[in-house]
Amino acid sequence: MQAEQAARSQWYDNLGVYATGAILTAEDIYNNFGHNHTSYPTTRGGMKDFGDYKRISDYSDQALKYKKISNNIKILGALGSALMTAQAGTKIYNEEATAWDYGDFTVGAAGTVTGAAELLGLSTVPVVGEVVAAYSWFRLWYDLGDKYGPSKWYGTDDRKWFK
């Protein structure tokens, strides 16, 4: 009974972790593929460039809304890269790392360098941000499949069905 309760608690904990991961990853995808950070849709259905404005105080409500989203997802993007590196760093330090953790560490580090170069206004390799976002998305679903996919639907014994 106690073991069952512990397993249920673990399941909910994992779900919470994956929900957080999904939000951060979806944000990263939107950051790189959805929001272009240079223009926004106007209320009349057109597109306008943020650069048309000289001062932030001249922004319309619609422009401000999209500018705010742009700023927030950039912060979350930086946080996502940092967390990916951080969690892999712990596993490497504790000598529990798998090949995936080295991949996480590398991708998080690449995301950090690209994000920092972009922030400092230096030239960046254009596709790195997109690759980081795509990798995070793939990694999340792979991990979810590994823990909750069809092979786990009938317990941890994969041969149970044949017995």
């Binding site: 608690s9 919470g16 967390l83 490497i92 330090y93 580090a109 920092a116």
Partner: protein, 153 residues
């Protein structure tokens, strides 16, 4: 002669300490002026720069501890049982063990009461290249250490 040597050592240590503090502030001034010049409309710069810099600082600490562990000089295990889901626990563990001292240091020395504004007049900037150099060095050092440690441990 011994006294002279000791004095020379003290002066040298004092100068080195100042140089380290100067490089620390130089990094921040270089990064902030570079952002203000090249990305003046980015309102997220404080948070984003804080995250990137603290991660780089923490990575340097992580590399140091990794090699101290490898040579059996100082060893500990990162264990945080806040949530049983390992990804979040590991990330929180890294933050508490390696990033927290730098979070406090960077916030209190740079952003508390907008201290960076006073520093901007005192230091010259180098078009962001010094700041980028530090970030690149930290990440590469972390990456190379992780690979070498993984192979030989």
């Amino acid at each position: 002669m011994v006294l002279a040597n000791g004095m020379a050592q003290m002066i040298e240590n004092g100068l080195n300490k100042n140089v380290m503090i100067n490089y620390y502030y130089l990094y921040w001034v270089d990064a902030i002026i570079s952002i203000k010049t090249k990305n003046p409309n980015r309102k997220d710069w404080k948070y984003t720069l804080f995250i990137y810099t603290t991660l780089c600082n923490a990575l340097n600490g992580w590399v140091l501890m990794l090699w101290l562990k490898f040579f059996d000089i100082y060893t500990f295990r990162i264990e945080i049982n806040i949530l049983s889901g390992s990804i979040l626990s590991n990330a929180i563990g890294f933050i508490i063990y390696f990033a927290l001292p730098f979070i406090i240091l960077n916030y209190s020395l740079i952003f508390y009461k907008d201290r960076y504004k006073k520093l901007l007049d005192r230091y010259t900037h180098r078009n962001g290249k010094f700041a980028m150099g530090y970030i690149l060095y930290s990440v590469l050092l972390g990456f190379i250490s992780a690979v070498i440690y993984g192979v030989i441990s």
